[in-house]
């Protein structure tokens, strides 16, 4: 459906806006699309794959030309991408991958698993291969929760002296992480480290440690590269985080859409955007959510 003279319409379908990380991803994608001369709309799937389906259908029937897509689920979202493919609308996955290589036009991915492997290694090093630690999971129904957890454990579980004394969920929520941490500290006042599935929870856990006077004793590791945590790493409060580059990812996706409209078709199926570990040594090279350029 070629509408002459009309600007191209780009849909930004994002898994959730209930988390600043995704807000950054979605807004960067939309804003960059507008900079490139497109019309852009953000769709919030509210972590609900079925609602995501609705968004795809609505976007297609109302004539969007491309979809910049942050999937709710690696498996569940495949069907949705296929709907778009059938309608010959290109889909560019952002941040999260879908478990199919023949559906999306291209996937610009932040590899949570690999990122957490790196964090796991740093964790082992910092805890000196032994001691008690705690893991705080995100939403237990979320696939990112598990890819991060698995990446982390793929390393850490090789050190029998490192003992995970508690594994609890805090739904990616700062307040919940704080409360969970407060309770865990009652049983395990002697832990040496905490690994959190995202930065919001890392901040919450850190707050609990401060209140319990254990901020010095316990090392906190997060994941995302959110502004609070970057600042906290600078201030030597938090040990490390996995920097995802949502802005970079989003801009790349929008650029790809432009290239697609200009006729390019041979996109790499997977374009990994490495998750870089930010720690107290290298934090000065980074800013929140990656650098702007």
């Amino acid at each position: 459906s070629e509408k002459q003279g009309q600007p191209k319409k780009v849909a930004v379908i994002v898994s959730s806006l209930n988390n600043p990380w995704f807000v950054v991803l979605a807004e960067t994608a939309a804003n960059h699309a507008i900079e490139l001369g497109f019309e852009a709309t953000i769709f919030d799937s509210q972590n609900n794959t079925a609602l995501e389906t609705d968004h795809f259908e609505n976007a297609i029937s109302s004539g969007y030309d491309a979809i910049l897509f942050n999937p709710t689920d690696a498996d569940g979202s495949i069907a949705n991408v296929r709907i778009a493919k059938k309608a010959e609308i290109p889909v560019f996955c952002m941040d999260r991958e879908i478990n199919a290589t023949d559906a999306a036009t291209s996937q610009i991915l932040s590899d949570s698993y690999a990122g957490c492997v790196a964090i796991g290694k740093y964790f082992v090093e910092k805890l000196n291969k032994s001691g008690k630690y705690v893991e705080i999971l995100g939403l237990v129904g979320d696939n990112n929760t598990w890819s991060r957890s698995k990446g982390f454990h793929s390393v850490v579980d090789n050190y029998p002296e490192l003992q995970m004394v508690a594994q609890q969920n805090a739904d990616f929520d700062r307040n919940k992480a704080m409360e969970v941490m407060e309770s865990i500290l009652q049983v395990h006042p002697d832990i040496k480290g905490v690994f959190c599935g995202n930065d919001g929870m890392a901040m919450g856990a850190y707050q609990a440690l401060v209140a319990a006077g254990k901020a010095e004793q316990v090392m906190v590791f997060g994941f995302d590269g959110a502004s609070d945590v970057i600042t906290s790493i600078e201030q030597k409060k938090i040990l490390a985080t996995g920097m995802q580059f949502p802005k970079l990812i989003a801009r790349t996706a929008a650029n790809y859409a432009l290239e697609y409209f200009n006729g390019k078709r041979d996109f790499a199926q997977k374009v990994p955007v490495t998750v870089e570990m930010v720690n107290q040594e290298n934090v000065h090279d980074y800013e929140a959510y990656g650098s702007d350029e």
């Binding site: 709309t41 972590n47 609900n48 029937s61 569940g76 237990v140």
Partner: protein, 324 residues
């Protein structure tokens, strides 16, 4: 012949006008609202909510409420998907049972009906207020879902199952057929059968109903079981559409269902309302969701607008009832 007309009352008329105005506005404001494509879109999108809301209507007519539908939906979807994909193996008995599509769906339905039955049992035999009984079930069924899926989606369920969610038959999407069937059955049930009459009577005056020899507990248990069953139908639809059972499917669906029921003119204190009203309510919500997106309204504003529409719909409905 069964006359369905009689069940249309002022409240529905109200909603119909609201819907009409909404559609007119959207037709004028957007290019893409009034297309066949978009029509089927909306219809398909509301089909899950319609199934759940129909069950919710029955519960609300008895002056109850069911907060657990979203969790039951997730659990049943996961059970069906799990059985279909992996079958059931009981290692201790050295037993493995494979499931056909039909078998897996029936199992999901049975679980849905069963959890609904538990709701009904708690409400009637233990006199737990419906709000509390189903709130507890909301939490528990979500836990079951997590235990069953270990937090991971179950994917790759095959084309014949997927057809239920994505296929078309005689030019109409399958989910619309299924939800349509649910609606028609429920309309007949509520308006043309003894069971339906009892539902209204119980919601209208439970004491008087008991003294008239109506088996209150039995009717209520059935109603909650049906609500659970219809949540399971919704679960199968969602799962089939996605070709994947999501552990966190259905979160807060109860609120959408209640909104549909209420916008459709059913009274939360029981005894008054119709299935058609609820269907209209669900359509209004669906059209609104669709329209806000077509009009490119920011997601943040969408929430504000949806809240206002719910409020307005009910206010208009109320002011109409008063002047009746």
């Amino acid at each position: 012949m069964i006359s369905l007309k009689k069940n249309f009352n002022i409240a529905q008329f109200q909603s119909l006008i609201a819907l009409f105005v909404l559609c007119l506005a959207l037709a004028l404001l957007t290019d893409n609202f009034m297309t066949t494509d978009n029509f089927w879109n909306v219809m398909r999108q509301i089909s899950v909510n319609v199934c759940i809301s129909v069950g919710m209507t029955l519960v609300v007519l008895t002056a109850g409420i069911d907060l657990s539908v979203g969790s039951i939906l997730a659990f049943c979807g996961a059970v069906t998907a799990g059985l279909l994909k992996n079958g059931l193996s009981i290692p201790s008995l050295n037993l493995f049972i494979g499931f056909t599509v039909l078998g897996a769906i029936v199992a999901g339905f049975l679980i849905g009906g069963g959890l609904g039955f538990v709701n009904g049992y708690a409400v009637t035999k233990f006199k737990v207020p419906p709000f509390v009984a189903t709130l507890a079930m909301l939490t528990m069924a979500r836990g079951f879902t997590m235990l069953w899926t270990k937090g991971h989606p179950i994917t790759g369920l095959g084309d014949s199952f997927g057809f239920l969610g994505t296929g078309w038959f005689l030019g109409i999407p399958m989910p619309v057929w299924i939800s349509g069937l649910v609606v028609i059955t429920a309309v007949i049930l509520t308006s043309k059968t003894r069971f339906g009459r009892y539902i209204y009577a119980i919601g209208g005056n439970e004491n008087a109903s008991r003294l008239s020899g109506i088996p209150i507990n039995k009717v209520k248990i059935w109603v909650y079981s049906i609500a659970g069953l219809l949540a399971a139908v919704g679960g199968v639809l969602v799962t089939a559409r996605l070709d994947s059972a999501q552990p966190n499917a259905g979160i807060s669906y109860e609120l959408d269902a209640i909104a549909a029921v209420v916008i459709g003119g059913t009274s939360l204190s029981g005894g008054r309302g119709t299935i058609w009203g609820t269907v209209l309510g669900a359509i209004i919500i669906g059209v609104l969701n669709n329209g806000l997106i077509l009009m490119n309204v920011s997601p943040f504003w969408q929430q504000v607008i949806k809240g206002m529409v719910i409020l307005l719909a009910v206010i208009i409905d109320k002011s109409n009832q008063k002047s009746e």
